[in-house]
């Protein structure tokens, strides 16, 4: 068979590697800043653009989509070309992909601090950026499938299956979770409301972890680990079983993020069962990776890249054991909303994603620069600093979680909450937050060390932008292969369709009944749409990212009903586009905050939280008392809500601002009586209106008792 000569595109790999390093440092630095703000809230420098609620999403987006995203593309572009023995399909598409992705990251970095957010976790970017993201993802897909089509290797290696599953699933997740109705250029409302919105969001959120942070990395593991260890993967059969069962099971597990909420019980149970089952394929992958190193453990002692890979796999094993355990309702009852979840995701992000990225960078950069690594010793130092950083991060967070989770639930012998003031439980764990910040600093220091090492490596070598390679062209298939999977491995389109069907099953089984059978979301007659002012206030709540620290879902536990009030019911959220249940309680739940305190309390609290809650770590929001409320959007917002099914009358829409001012003036007059001079056209008035409305509708009726049986 005649060999043909071609070149691998190393320049695109190098570009994504540099972007990985740069955005990694940015994302980790912002992470450190938000960690410090949870000790000293003034570290927002009294600026609204650097306040926790706005930059915490910046941190998560930067780490997930900028650091990990670029690392995925670096790994995929390097390994795909070599596994298929073909240059990427189009250099132009590669460049569009690279620069388009960086532009999206830049757009996120600009809009999130401005408070332009949808509030859906890990999907905060507003609709124009969502559209851009879709286009760039399609560009990536065309480039990937184009390369697969022009390949010189008939069968696709397991790494490529993971890349295909990643592409197709992320596309589905992104599209379904981004169905929004634009109100203006930078404001939109989700199509779904309340319980349904929560189900879609956590189907997305959980599977963003699965198909953005896990499957592409598993693909990279299956390519780079054998290369580093210079031995084939332990079991190819296990990798097939691992792949299909992982992508099938993962998609069902999302509801474990919503245990004890108003989500139908059967959906919660499905989430729990499939989460437990998820241990098997996850550990199958980890074991396959670790056993690939059998007979090569001596190399681990001396080779820093393998050290990073071993810790990455171990962290993957820990995180994928911990995830199912957290899905058990008994564990979830204590751990949910605490720092346990923060620790859990960081074991995955710092250990699995971070360490594998570092290992691949140390392995790959010297190769494409045709040189040796500048300093093996520095890489080892990075490994130990990074490992210490993970430990200093995770252990105090677990400790904080157990301490705070138990404090929330503790009663005195007299039967009242032992710590009725939420703040007391927050202050108890500040020392653990300090240790966590030290862990983050260590981890970031390690990344900076790596940057120095790799820059020196690049300088001492020279990029081989077009790396020559040889392979015979593919001959036509003349023999029909009997083994089904073997045939499948050479049919990328069929493979993609099967992967798509596999990942669609779980989502459909959970979502279709929840959306189509009305008994799954019973309505409550006394629950009414928000007034125009409350709606504007709600959008300010979203803009400031309050959902990052405050939940809006009271679970049916004695410890929660005693602290907050009646537990939350599905029918209370039917007009909530989007839902704002949250996933972490750095501060208390707010679903029953309405009417609990006078307007002046809220005014003081937002102006400076330490006035009402001495020692509070909540940042001050003085700008809300200074900035004017934008009422030009009121009609458009009411119209959009009506289009989404909220029953506003023509009169309510047309006289929206008139009604808004009437309510605002009443609140301003009440504040005036309490000695606070604030004009009704300031943002704080709208926010107070919204907070005072929260959770009050069911108090107007006896519905709570009768609905509870159906709902919960």
């Amino acid at each position: 068979m005649q060999l043909t000569t071609f070149n691998y595109d190393n320049k695109i790999v190098r570009d994504f590697a540099i972007a990985t390093i740069v955005w990694g440092i940015v994302g980790m630095s912002v992470g450190l800043l938000v960690a410090v703000q949870l000790i000293w809230p003034f570290m927002n420098f009294d600026l609204q653009y650097t306040t926790f609620g706005r930059i915490r999403p910046l941190h998560t987006n930067a780490v997930i989509f900028a650091f990990v995203g670029n690392a995925i593309f670096m790994g995929v572009y390097y390994s795909l070309q070599r596994l298929l023995k073909a240059r990427m399909y189009s250099d132009v598409l590669s460049r569009i992909h690279f620069w388009g992705w960086q532009l999206i990251i830049l757009a996120a970095a600009l809009t999130l601090p401005l408070g332009l957010t949808t509030s859906h976790e890990y999907a905060e970017l507003e609709w124009p950026i969502d559209v851009g993201l879709t286009i760039i993802w399609v560009v990536f897909g065309i480039n990937m499938f184009g390369t697969i089509i022009k390949r010189r290797e008939r069968h696709m290696y397991v790494a490529i299956w993971f890349y295909i599953a990643t592409f197709v699933t992320v596309a589905v997740l992104h599209i379904v979770n981004s169905v929004q109705l634009p109100v203006s250029m930078w404001k939109s409302y989700y199509l779904y409301a309340g319980v349904q919105d929560a189900l879609v969001q956590w189907w997305y959120g959980h599977n963003a972890v699965a198909f953005f942070l896990t499957t592409p990395y598993l693909g990279m593991m299956y390519y780079f680990l054998p290369k580093m260890a210079n031995r084939p993967v332990y079991s190819y059969k296990l990798s097939i079983l691992h792949f299909w069962s992982l992508i099938f099971i993962y998609i069902w597990a999302g509801p474990h993020h919503l245990l004890y909420t108003a989500l139908p019980e059967w959906v919660q149970s499905l989430g729990v069962v499939f989460s437990i089952m998820l241990i098997a394929p996850s550990w199958g992958g980890m074991i396959n990776g670790l056993l690939t190193l059998r007979g090569a453990w001596d190399k681990v002692r001396t080779d820093p890249t393998l050290k990073f890979m071993v810790v990455a796999l171990t962290a993957y094993g820990m995180a994928t054991f911990e995830g199912p355990m957290l899905s058990l309702k008994q564990v979830n009852a204590i751990a949910h909303f605490t720092d346990w979840i923060v620790a859990h995701v960081h074991v995955g992000a710092l250990g699995w994603n971070g360490f594998m990225t570092f290992g691949i960078l140390y392995w790959l950069v010297p190769r494409i620069y045709k040189t040796e690594l500048y300093s093996k010793k520095l890489a080892s130092v990075h490994f130990w600093i990074g490992t210490l950083g993970i430990l200093f991060y995770a252990i105090p967070m677990y400790w904080a979680a157990v301490v705070q989770g138990l404090m929330w639930k503790e009663f005195t012998p007299e039967g009242v909450l032992k710590y009725p003031n939420f703040l007391a439980t927050t202050l108890q764990i500040i020392p653990m937050h300090m240790l966590r910040a030290i862990g983050g600093t260590l981890y970031l220091a390690g990344a900076l060390l790596m940057t120095y090492n790799l820059v020196k490596t690049m300088r001492q070598g020279r990029l081989l932008a077009n790396e020559p390679a040889q392979a015979p062209e593919l001959a036509p298939v003349v023999v029909n292969e009997r083994a089904v999977h073997r045939r499948l491995e050479r049919k990328p389109a069929l493979f993609m369709v099967l992967a798509l069907i596999t990942i669609l099953i779980g989502g459909m089984v959970q979502m279709m009944p929840t959306f189509m059978i009305s008994s799954n979301v019973p309505t409550i007659s006394s629950v009414l749409p928000y007034t125009a002012l409350e709606l504007q206030g709600r959008d300010l709540y979203i803009r400031e990212g309050c959902v990052n620290c405050h939940s809006q879902t009271v679970r049916p536990f004695r410890s929660e009903t005693a602290r907050y009030g009646d537990y939350s019911m599905a029918g209370e959220y039917v007009y909530d586009h989007p839902f704002l249940w949250g996933s972490k309680r750095t501060g208390p739940d707010l679903h029953r905050i309405g009417g609990k305190y006078p307007n002046k309390w809220h005014f003081d609290h937002m102006l400076d939280p330490t006035i009402t809650s001495p020692g509070s770590i909540m940042p001050a929001y003085p700008w809300l008392s200074e900035q004017l409320l934008d009422t030009t959007t009121t009609k458009a917002k009411l119209n959009a809500m009506r289009l989404l099914g909220v029953p506003y009358s023509d009169d309510e829409v047309n006289t929206g601002n008139l009604r808004l001012w009437q309510q605002a003036e009443a609140i301003a007059a009440d504040l005036q009586e309490q000695g606070v001079a604030v004009r009704p056209d300031h943002e704080i008035v709208a926010l107070i209106a919204y907070l005072q409305r929260l959770g009050t509708d069911i108090k107007n009726t006896g519905a709570s008792a009768s609905q509870s049986a159906t709902n919960q």
């Binding site: 596994l83 023995k85 290696y157 059967w266 499905l270 069962v273 499939f274 083994a483 089984v509």
Partner: protein
């Protein structure tokens, strides 16, 4: 934990059907695996080792 599966007020069938779907899927993948030939598996296992670079000498760092 089993209470979470068995006490679903009439909605158990969602769960049972889901588990059946998974079981059938899992059996299908198992059949895939049993029908695979050893030489193909060996070939595929070694794919990362042969990436057509022509000078695939191991770089050390």
């Amino acid at each position: 934990m089993f209470k979470q599966i068995t006490e679903l007020s009439g909605n158990e069938w969602y769960l049972i059907v889901s588990l059946w779907i998974f079981l059938l899927f899992f059996i299908g993948v198992g059949i895939f695996l049993f029908r695979m030939r050893k030489d193909h598996i060996q070939y595929m296992k070694n794919r990362p080792m042969d990436d057509g670079e022509g000078h695939d000498e191991p770089f050390s760092i």
